[in-house]
Amino acid sequence: MSDNAYAAVLGRKNEIMKRALGLDFDSFIQSPIAFDYERLMAATGYSLEDIVRIQADSKVGNTPLYELKNLTEAVRRTAAPGKGARILVKDEAANASGSFKARRASISAYEAQKKGFKGLIAATSGNYGAAVASQAAMRGLKCIVLQEVFDSRGVCQPEIVEKSRACEAYGAQVLRLSVGPELFYMALRTLEATGFFNASLYTPFGIRGVETLGVEVVEQVRRRYGQDPDAVVITHAGGGNLTGTARGMLAAGCANARVVACSVDLGGLHMASDTDFNKKSFTTGHTGFGVPFATWPDRVDVPRNAARSLRYMDEYQLVTQGEVFYVTELLTKLEGLERGPAGNTSLTAAVTLARTLDRDQIVVVQETEYTGAGKHHNRQLSFARENGIEVRRGDPAGNVPGRTIVIPERLDQVRGRVQDMDRLRASYLKNAAKVLPPDQWSATDLAFLAADLKVGVDRVKALGASHD
């Protein structure tokens, strides 16, 4: 009988994870900071062609790319003369299980089956749960999804209830948990007890699976418009969507498109707070994940995170909950597409971005997700009201996370706020300094940090010093 005390389980973390992934990270690790990222990614053993084939066999990929002509026209009416890039959206809701997360799950499920695991485990309150459950179902593997669902009053966040339902619909076992970071503790216990595969969001398998999304975006735009996209906008939480997509774009030879991240601003709400839990109208794609994961990716359920967003990110925009709800409604009524919050977060940033670019330029929103009961923005807003949050139309500058949601009155009020990238990079370096003091950083560490921040070594030194 194992000791299930919190500290005892966390103490067995490394051995549990090593067995549950069949991938030994030790051989890639160079120092407390540095590791050989590209060698880790290559260690999956899959080429891009392999991944395309596995996904085609598992109802994933080749999703449609739509031009949002009516929304583009509406944005042009709010832009300076000659401005207003075309806005395109990649309809990732068309994947099995209804989101881009199927790309991530497909490779993990294939790998688990190949290695002879009887089942998969994922700790996620997002679409990834249904994606793993769906992929496990088609491979005849067992699946356990652990979700953070309810607060201490027993009140469930409606979007996560829908995600529980979807997982159980695919035959998965769902462990529904109260608010707290102990989700990871329970995931470790479950991995240990079952011997199942750790279908973590942050393994190289998951991230390599997203590369096809970036490739498809570039190839579809080239085929239809004879040019590369000028910007690709990506909803940002844990960083896997951005990392995989950007790597795919590079693999397709598209090095000049701007990679733009976007998160919903939930500043001031604590992610581990029992009382803040049901004051959030977004369960992911928000700053509660986006900022900490960008500024220290290795806070995850694998020894090193394959999702490293600052390696690829050129710009980071924050939007308000009210702005996303407004743009969601516009997508529905102007374009006849009813979709869920994740892709509509990046669509909100795309509106701001398109307004500043020329008419012959192209902005791609690289995902949609399905919507429905619980996930729908009408439910999120009515739930917010039930939890004492004020909902009104007005200037979105009045949004206060956890207190007030202001839905814009007009499109020209949708204005994503571009963040200072150097502040994010400095914050990353501050976290790196906690792991290893800067005076002990070797040439290997500096080179790793430079690559991880998409800057030169001199800039790493300057940014590191600026934070002392």
Binding site: A74, P158, H376, L381
Partner: protein, 94 residues
């Protein structure tokens, strides 16, 4: 209390960690409440609402906890209409 027959689909609840056993550095409002698991499965033996019982889940694993619901459903919905949304985008206006 009416017994619930073995084989019935139920939801159980159990405390995984008492307040003093939880992760360090939690906000006080989280630290003071227990960490709770809920799971659904088929009852292994006859049981009563509110009493301890063992379930077998969809994938055949067994969990023990207090029975809190029989044939638990999903109560989520689209919610009452939020009128502020209705007029957005009507007639092509943004």
């Amino acid at each position: 209390m009416e017994p619930i027959a073995a084989g019935t689909w139920v939801e159980i609840e159990s405390v995984l960690l008492e307040p003093g056993e939880r992760a360090p550095n939690l906000p006080p409002e989280t630290a003071k409440v227990p960490y709770i698991l809920k799971a659904s499965g088929f009852l292994v033996g006859d049981a009563e609402l509110g009493r301890e019982a063992t379930i077998r889940t969809l994938i055949g694993l067994e969990y023990r906890g207090r029975v809190v619901a029989v044939n638990p459903g999903y109560g989520h919905s689209f919610g009452p209409t939020v009128p502020e949304l209705l007029t957005i985008g009507i007639g092509g206006n943004a």
